[in-house]
C-alpha cells in the first residue's frame, strides 16, 4: 500500500478519472499553471491541456453555473471554489439550481456536478478565508455533501462524487493537504453515504468530521491512558447520512461527543445530536456534547484564533464531561 498525501490523493483521483473519461474536466481560479491555490492540480494542465484544466475569471456564480449547464449537457465537470467562504457567492446556483433541477423537471435532468472546495483555520487567514460551512448544504435537499479526512477517503470519495449522478459539494480541509496516509494500490471508490469507524471503543463515541477526526483520534489516545475507550466515527458523507452506523455506535457506547471545526451553533453537530438523541434515546447515559468553534468571526491574531478553534484537548474535555455523568 503506497503512502501519499491528502493533496496527492485528490490529484490522483482527478487524474485517474480524467485519463479514462473525456467527459470530465476541471474549472476554477488559477488551477492551471499555478495548480490551484493549494497546489492540488499542480502539473495537471501539462497532462490534460488548458481545455480540460480551465482557468476561470473570478466569477463564482458562473463557475458553478457553467458547471451545472455542462453537467446537464452530458459532461462530468469538477469545479473548484478556491475557498469555501466564496461558496457564499455561488449559493444561488448551488441551492436553487443544481439541487432542484431534477425535481423541478420531474426527473428529466441529472446534474452530475462535483464542487470541490476547501477551508479551515489554523494558519491565521482571518475571518473571510477560514469558515466551515458544510452544515448549510446538509439542509438542502438534492445535494450530497462529502467531507473527507484521510488520503484514502478523499481519493475514493472523490471518485464516487465525480461519478455520482447528483450534485456533490466536496469539502477538503486546508490543513489536511500535507498529511500522509496509506492508500490501496488501485483506486477503490468509496460509496457515498457510508461512515467509517476509525477506531472502535466502548465508553463513548466521538462523531467527527474533517480535521477534527484527527483531533478526535488524538483525544482518544489520551483518553486511553486513563482507561477510557473511545470510538471514533467519521460520517464522511454528511448528506445522505449513515444514521445506522452512527446511531449504532452510540447505542453501543451510550455516550456521544460530536466534533467539527465549524461554529457549534447551527453546525452539523446539531443535526447529529438531533438524530442521535432520537435514535439512541433509551441508550444515552449523558447528554450529547458538541465540540466546535467559538461563536465568533475568526480573529486573525494566532492567540485568538487558537482560542476559537477546537483542538484535541477540547474533544478530550467533552469526553470527560460525558463520562462525568452518572
Amino acid at each position: 500500500m503506497p503512502e501519499i498525501t491528502y493533496r496527492e490523493a485528490v490529484r490522483d483521483a482527478l487524474s485517474q478519472a480524467m485519463r479514462g473519461d473525456e467527459r470530465i474536466f476541471l474549472m476554477g481560479e488559477d488551477i492551471a499553471e499555478m495548480g490551484g491555490s493549494m497546489g492540488v492540480t499542480s502539473g495537471m494542465v501539462a497532462e490534460f491541456g488548458p481545455e480540460r484544466i480551465r482557468n476561470t475569471p473570478i466569477s463564482e456564480i458562473a463557475i458553478v453555473g457553467a458547471g451545472i449547464g455542462a453537467a446537464i449537457q452530458g459532461m462530468l465537470p469538477v469545479v473548484e471554489i478556491m475557498y469555501e467562504d466564496f461558496l457564499t457567492i455561488s449559493m444561488e446556483q448551488i441551492v436553487n439550481q443544481a439541487a432542484k433541477h431534477r425535481t423541478m423537471s420531474g426527473g428529466q435532468v441529472k446534474v452530475p456536478l462535483t464542487i470541490r472546495t476547501q477551508g479551515g483555520a489554523g494558519w491565521s487567514p482571518g475571518a473571510q478565508h477560514a469558515q466551515q460551512l458544510e452544515s448549510w448544504f446538509v439542509h438542502v435537499p438534492g445535494l450530497k455533501v462529502v467531507f473527507a479526512s484521510t488520503p484514502e477517503d478523499v481519493r475514493g470519495l472523490l471518485w464516487s462524487s465525480i461519478y455520482d449522478p447528483n450534485p456533490v459539494i466536496f469539502f477538503e480541509h486546508r490543513t489536511l493537504y500535507p498529511i500522509k496516509g496509506q492508500v490501496p494500490d488501485e483506486l477503490e471508490p468509496i460509496p457515498l453515504g457510508k461512515a467509517r469507524i476509525h477506531r472502535e471503543g466502548t465508553d463513548v463515541s466521538v462523531i467527527a468530521t474533517g480535521r477534527l477526526v484527527h483531533e478526535a483520534l488524538q483525544a482518544a489516545d489520551e483518553a486511553e491512558k486513563d482507561g477510557i475507550s473511545v470510538e471514533v466515527v467519521d460520517p464522511r458523507t454528511l448528506s445522505p447520512l449513515d444514521e445506522e452506523t452512527i446511531v449504532g455506535s452510540v447505542r453501543k457506547t451510550t455516550r456521544c461527543v460530536t466534533a467539527h471545526e465549524a461554529v457549534v451553533q447551527g453546525g452539523f453537530g446539531a443535526e447529529l445530536a438531533a438524530v442521535i438523541q432520537h435514535g439512541a434515546f433509551d441508550y444515552l447515559d449523558a447528554p450529547i456534547e458538541r465540540v466546535g468553534a467559538q461563536f465568533a468571526p475568526l480573529a486573525f491574531a494566532p492567540v485568538m484564533e487558537d482560542f476559537c478553534v477546537p483542538h484535541a484537548a477540547d474533544v478530550l474535555a467533552a469526553i470527560r464531561r460525558t463520562l462525568a455523568r452518572a
Binding site: 458547471g67 446537464i72 444561488e92 446556483q93 439550481q97 423541478m104 423537471s105 428529466q108 435532468v109 471518485w159
Partner: protein, 346 residues
C-alpha cells in the same frame, strides 16, 4: 428581398427572407401562444390554476422568431415568463397546460408549474423563477458543445431587469472570454415588474446594446415586434456563434402588454400606455397586416388555435393528479455516471 417595412411610422427592420408559407405557420404559432396565454389568464382568474403566472402577451414574436432560427439540437433556457418560449421550442400546449394544472401529464410532471417548464428532449433546459438564474447554465451548456465540437448553440432568454444581476455579468463575461456559442436574447420590454427602465437601468432602453461593450461582445439591435427581423437577426447571430466567433447579444426591443403577473393591477402605469401599445405594437397584428390576411383567413386560423387551446384545457383537466408521495421521487438520481466498461468491481 423586400424593402424595409414601415409600420405606424416606425421603421421595421426585416427584409422578408422567410417564405410566405412559413410566415403563415409562424403567425399561427404566435396566435396559438396568444390564445393559450389568454386562456391561462382566464383559468387563473377563475381559480383553476395554482401558483402564479406571468404571460408574454405582446412578446410572442421574440420567442417564435428566435426559435425559428434555431436547429432542433440547440438549447434554450427560459424565464419566469416562459409559456411563449416553451411553445416556440416545440412543446405541445397540452403538456404545458397540464403542467399549469399540476398534472402528471405536464411537461414537468406537475413538479414545476408555470415558472418551471422543462422539455429537455426538445432542448428546453428549463424556465427559471430566479431572474438571471439560467444564464450561467446556458454558458455551461455551450461549453459542453464547444468541448465536444458540436455545432450547437445555447440560447438564454432574459429581460432587461435581469441585466442588473451579477449572474448576467459573469455569464456574459465568461461566454465572451471563451467564445462560447451562446445567444443572449434580451427581451427588452422596459419594465421589471412595476419598476420602469428609468428606475432600474442606468442606460436608456435604446442603449441597452452597450451592455455588451463591457465584454467586447458582438451586439445586434432587433425589433422584437417584427418576427422576420427577429428570425433574421437570430440566424446571423447563430452563424456567428457556431462558427467559433463567440457569443452574440441581441437587444430585442419588445413590449409587455399586460401586468407583470396575472392579476397585477398595474397601479404603476397608465392604462393609456397599454392601450396604445396594443394598438401600435401588436406583433400578431403587424404580421397579419404584412401577410395581408383577410378577416376570413384570420378567423379560420383563430378558430383552429382556440380549439387547440380548449383541447389543452380539457386534456389538463382530465389529467392525473400525482400521488402526494411522488413529491419525493426525484430528489436524487440513483446509480452512477460511470461508463459500464469502467465501473469498479469494488
Amino acid at each position: 428581398m423586400t424593402p424595409v417595412t414601415q409600420v405606424e411610422g416606425k421603421p421595421r427592420a426585416s427584409t422578408g427572407t422567410l417564405p410566405k408559407k412559413r410566415l403563415r405557420e409562424l403567425f399561427r404559432e404566435m396566435l396559438l401562444i396568444r390564445r393559450f396565454e389568454e386562456k391561462v389568464e382566464e383559468r387563473f382568474r377563475a381559480g383553476d390554476l395554482p401558483g402564479f403566472l406571468h404571460v408574454a402577451i405582446g412578446q410572442e414574436a421574440v420567442a417564435c422568431g428566435v426559435c425559428e432560427a434555431l436547429e432542433p439540437d440547440d438549447v434554450i433556457a427560459s424565464t419566469h415568463r416562459a409559456h411563449a418560449h416553451t411553445i416556440a421550442k416545440g412543446t405541445p400546449v397540452n403538456a404545458i397546460m397540464a403542467e399549469m394544472y399540476g398534472k402528471k401529464e405536464g411537461c414537468s410532471g406537475g413538479y414545476g408549474g408555470s415558472m418551471h417548464l422543462y422539455d429537455v428532449a426538445r432542448g428546453n433546459m428549463g424556465a427559471n423563477a430566479v431572474v438571471g438564474g439560467g444564464l450561467p447554465q446556458i454558458a455551461g451548456a455551450a461549453l459542453a458543445f464547444q468541448l465536444r465540437k458540436e455545432s450547437r448553440v445555447a440560447v438564454a432568454f432574459f429581460g432587461d431587469g435581469a441585466t442588473n444581476t451579477g449572474a448576467f455579468h459573469e455569464s456574459m463575461n465568461l461566454a465572451q472570454l471563451w467564445k462560447l456559442p451562446v445567444l443572449f436574447v434580451l427581451e427588452n420590454n422596459g419594465w421589471a415588474e412595476s419598476t420602469p427602465a428609468t428606475q432600474q437601468l442606468p442606460l436608456a432602453v435604446e442603449e441597452m446594446a452597450q451592455r455588451a461593450a463591457a465584454y467586447g461582445m458582438t451586439a445586434m439591435e432587433v425589433d422584437g415586434q417584427d418576427i422576420e427581423a427577429v428570425v433574421e437577426a437570430t440566424r446571423s447571430a447563430r452563424d456567428h456563434a457556431v462558427s467559433g466567433q463567440g457569443p452574440v447579444f441581441l437587444n430585442v426591443r419588445t413590449y409587455r402588454f399586460t401586468g407583470h403577473y396575472v392579476g397585477d393591477p398595474q397601479v404603476y402605469r397608465d392604462k393609456s400606455e397599454v392601450r396604445q401599445l396594443r394598438e401600435t405594437q401588436d406583433p400578431i397584428e403587424l404580421l397579419r397586416a404584412r401577410l395581408g390576411m383577410t378577416g376570413e383567413e384570420f378567423e379560420k386560423v383563430d378558430a383552429e388555435v382556440i380549439a387547440e387551446v380548449e383541447g389543452s384545457v380539457e386534456f389538463a383537466q382530465a389529467g392525473t393528479d400525482p400521488d402526494p408521495a411522488d413529491a419525493l421521487k426525484w430528489v436524487y438520481a440513483d446509480g452512477t455516471m460511470e461508463p459500464a466498461s469502467r465501473e469498479h468491481s469494488a
